[in-house]
């Protein structure tokens, strides 16, 4: 039974952590955006803007006029950017940021959200973009918005496969599953890293899934080659074409926070390891070390899934995006899923060793 005092304590913790995580997300999102721009500029042989450029961009946008076009439906048009940012910030609460447990949970048993919730919340920023684009009442924005929606449908298929596969590996009571309680919660996923539980076949499956997730990320973030919704060269910024001033700044911030969110999800699903147990550290030094390690992991993932891909590939057409995700990538993800499912049977019936046992890590 929950006591009143406990309820108040939980509510206070949640309020406090929302504030902290909102600021964390916005600051590091913009910072990573700057780093990403610098790195991709270097890859193209340019010097690139300074790392603090995104902060300046936001500052500049706040001083610009906030135009509401005459064809727009004002209340939807203004509300969409806010909802996008709010939805993105709320995801951070459910993720294990910096190697800690998800902040929206009470120590021990009570957890308030899980991976499916995160999957759905991830749609909110995209949905806000789509509705904002539709609400602009401009043909360009409408085209961009419907492309964003089609992209969303497209990448959600492989993303769902990845998330369900990992949860299945942990939670299934059939052959190969670990039978972990609450397999969809991120606490359980970080406590039982999937790599430790698979054999050679499952290892291949996980690699495939990781690969697909890395390719899903740029679409989730509307980056080249999957930025057909924005496509500056054909439809002039697409769904953002009528946005300006502070509304555009909100979308800019949403994008920044979402980058951190996506990278954190990849970290939580595939790389939940911490350095501190290895070095035998405890309490505050351990927290600091883990946090820094977490930031580095995020940076590496952003470099691989955003900077590298967007520099090296050209933009795809919208029907190509849908096809890419629904046919080749879904097939790869399904192969990964089948590998992981067979892996369990192999380990059970033929006694195949786990991959960690092969490398002698346990």
């Amino acid at each position: 039974m929950l006591e009143l005092q406990e309820i108040i304590r939980t509510v206070m913790i949640i309020i406090l952590s929302t504030v902290v995580l909102a600021l964390f997300g916005i600051f590091f999102g913009l910072l990573y955006k700057g780093i990403d721009r610098k790195i991709s500029a270097h890859m193209q042989g340019r010097i690139g803007p300074p790392i603090r450029q995104p902060f300046r961009d936001v500052g500049k946008l706040f001083t610009k006029e906030n135009i509401i076009p005459e064809n727009a439906v004002p209340w939807v048009f203004n509300l969409a950017p806010l909802i996008g940012l709010v939805g993105t910030i709320s995801i951070l609460l459910y993720l294990p940021i910096g190697g800690f447990r998800p902040l929206a949970s009470v120590e021990g048993e009570i957890i308030f959200g899980d991976l499916i919730l995160v999957l759905y919340l991830l749609m909110i920023p995209s949905l806000a973009l789509v509705i904002g684009g539709f609400a602009s009442g401009s043909p360009y924005a409408t085209i961009g918005a419907q492309r964003e929606m089609a992209t969303m449908i497209a990448y959600e298929f492989p993303l769902a496969i990845i998330i369900i596969t990992i949860a299945w590996k942990l939670g299934s009571i059939a052959a190969g599953g670990l039978g972990v309680e609450n397999a969809f919660t991120l606490t359980a996923i970080t406590a039982n890293p999937v790599w430790n539980a698979v054999g050679p076949l499952g290892f291949i499956g996980l690699i495939l899934l990781l690969l697909v997730l890395i390719i899903v990320t740029p679409a989730e973030l509307s980056k080249i080659p999957f930025d057909a919704p924005e496509a500056e060269t054909e439809i002039g910024g697409g769904l953002l074409v009528e946005y300006s001033g502070r509304n555009l700044a909100m979308f800019y911030l949403t994008d920044a926070v979402k980058t951190v969110v996506m990278a954190s999800i990849i970290v939580a699903l595939f790389f939940p390891y911490n350095l501190s147990p290895l070095l035998g550290l405890e309490s505050i030094p351990a927290y600091i070390l883990d946090f820094i390690f977490f930031l580095i992991k995020i940076l590496i993932i952003i470099v691989f899934s955003v900077s590298l891909i967007r520099v090296s590939v050209a933009r795809l057409k919208i029907d190509q995006i849908v096809y890419t995700y629904w046919v080749p990538l879904t097939l790869i993800a399904l192969v990964g899923l089948i590998c992981i499912m067979w892996d369990g049977t192999m380990m059970e019936s033929y006694g195949w060793p786990k991959i960690v046992e092969i490398f002698g890590l346990i």
């Binding site: 539709f134 496969i161 369900i164 009571i173």
Partner: protein
């Protein structure tokens, strides 16, 4: 013994009798005045609802309580062991469905006031409307196979006449004809199956049948026909094609109740599978070569296969459709798919002795989704009706910019959009979460397809949001005004319930869904309540 106890004692009969009586009084009352008629109809429905709530309170007061009402006697089985008396047996599942019907009926009648105001022949409209509600209550509450068939036909006839109510439109009449052909054949096949069961066990009573059933070859044929017939009435792919026609052409207030009718058919299928056949499903084994397969597994896999096809084809067709109401109808098909997905997944695991938890959770999700589906789809149909009322347009291609003129309708549509596509914090999310997080134990592919199609549903309704509500202000809709208050009230009632369920899902699951699931999984309770009373 006070009057409340008396009412509760006779409530199953009253719930059907009052709307039935009201239906045939309506033409008389309409002679007086339109206002009086409206007040009369809503008071009939409200009175029925009050009795439903009293009965619900009674059922939920004790765990596993079943209210049996025998017509013309006290014992269900006469001396000499003939189970010929008609009886109504109300357990957790029945009352759950009755509550859904109540909500739909109240908001449907309130909505009709303004929505149907300009039509003639409203006395007949309300007569048929009440008849339909009475038929639905009968289908839901009855404990007798033949009675089920009779109420099914009453509902079909009333709803068919209502679908074709706008006889000035050729397509409406066409849809009505299709509906009556479908339901007549479905009902006749169901009667055939009932006759097969009667021929073997000399009983029409569900509980008596359930206690005697042997699962002979004839029983299997009866099961096949029963499930197929009810599945057609529930609109499961590939037997769903009547549904967009009927839903799309009927007046919106009628469509709302039609949603309930499909749910009632689904309830019938659940009752047949889990209660009538439930006791013998696991002990019957089919042989393929040397491999033995439990019948529940086979049945579950078949239903899951149908469900996946239903979900997928439902959303894909909805994505392409440009007629607002037909589009919602296809979405309704997909939503029904979620329910039977959960039921199929539950069938495969719920009877297992080692770990029934997954199956029970899936069943909970499925039953919970029946409620959510009725509310979400119902709300969207009401919104579609409101748009039709205001603009006289049904094609999305000719709409646009209505968010400026119809603010409240837009908000209700947004609530419906979020709920039907299962976005948090609406009710659809809670039940879909339960479905995803239990069906993945059966096979991960099930939850993957379910999640994907839920997002496709989101895309479907975002398209509606764009083409009907957003966009530039169209000159031809300059004079469009917000719909009358009674229509807003009807939408508001459903929207409030949606948000309430969305915010307190655990409360609803524990207090309303759990008894329904217990009633399904524990059919010996249902049987003993009748057989034990000899």
């Amino acid at each position: 013994m006070n009057i409340i106890d008396d009412i509760i004692l006779h409530s199953p009969a009253l719930i059907v009798a009052i709307p039935l009586l009201g239906a045939f009084l309506t033409p008389l009352i309409s002679k007086i005045n339109d206002k009086v008629r409206n007040v009369f109809v809503i008071s009939i429905v409200l009175f029925t609802s009050a009795i439903v709530l009293l009965l619900a309170n009674d059922i939920y007061s004790a765990c596993g309580k079943i209210h049996t009402y025998v017509f013309g006697g006290t014992a269900a089985i006469t001396e000499g062991g003939f189970a010929v008396r008609i009886l109504f047996e109300v357990d957790g599942l029945n009352i759950f469905m009755a509550i859904i019907t109540t909500i739909l009926a109240i908001s449907g009648v309130i909505y009709s006031w303004a929505f149907m105001k300009e039509n003639t022949g409203l006395d007949k409209y309300y007569t048929l409307y009440l008849l339909m509600i009475a038929g639905m209550f009968g289908m839901i509450l009855t404990g007798d196979m033949f009675n089920f068939f009779v109420f099914l036909e009453i509902t079909s006839i009333a709803s068919c006449a209502l679908i074709a109510f706008w006889t000035s439109k050729g397509k409406a009449v066409d849809a009505g004809f299709k509906y009556i052909v479908i339901s007549a054949i479905g009902a006749l096949f169901i009667l055939f199956a009932i006759a097969i069961l009667y021929g073997q066990y000399n009983a029409l009573n569900m509980a008596v049948l359930a206690s005697n059933i042997q699962f002979s070859f004839l029983d299997k044929i009866a099961l096949v026909i029963l499930i197929s017939g009810l599945a057609m009435k529930a609109g499961i792919v590939p037997m769903h094609m009547w549904l967009p026609d009927a839903y799309g052409r009927a007046p919106a207030s009628v469509t709302l109740i039609l949603v309930g009718v499909t749910q009632a058919s689904l309830y019938g299928a659940l009752r047949m599978i889990f209660t009538v056949y439930g006791g013998k499903l696991t002990t019957t084994i089919n042989q393929i070569g040397d491999v033995n397969i439990d019948l529940n597994l086979l049945l579950g896999i078949f239903i899951v296969g149908l469900a996946l096809v239903t979900i997928f084809i439902g959303v894909l067709m909805a994505l392409k459709e440009n007629n607002f109401k037909r589009m919602i109808a296809f979405a309704a098909v997909a939503e029904i798919g979620y329910i039977i997905l959960a039921i199929g997944a539950a069938l495969t695991t719920v009877f297992s002795a080692t770990d029934p938890r997954t199956g029970i959770m899936a069943l909970k999700g499925g039953i919970f989704h029946i409620l959510n589906d009725a509310l979400d789809i119902g709300l969207l149909f009401l919104v579609a009706g409101a748009i039709y009322y205001a603009t006289k347009e049904t094609s999305l291609n000719r709409l646009g910019g209505l968010a400026r003129n119809m603010k409240y309708t837009t908000i209700f549509f947004l609530i419906g959009l979020l709920a039907v596509s299962g976005m948090p914090p609406m009710n659809g999310f809670a039940s879909k979460l339960m479905i995803y997080e239990s069906t993945y134990q059966v096979n991960p592919i099930l939850s993957i397809i379910a999640i994907l199609c839920s997002i496709l549903l989101l895309a479907v309704f975002v398209k509606v949001f764009h083409s009907a509500f957003l966009g530039p202000k169209l000159p031809k809709f300059d004079n469009v005004k917000e719909v009358p208050k009674s229509m807003l009230l009807a939408m508001g009632i459903i929207a409030c319930i949606i948000i309430f369920i969305g915010l307190f899902p655990d409360l609803v699951v524990n207090n309303i869904v759990q008894p329904a699931v217990n009633a399904l999984t524990n059919n010996s309770n249902y049987i003993n309540n009748v057989i034990g009373g000899i």
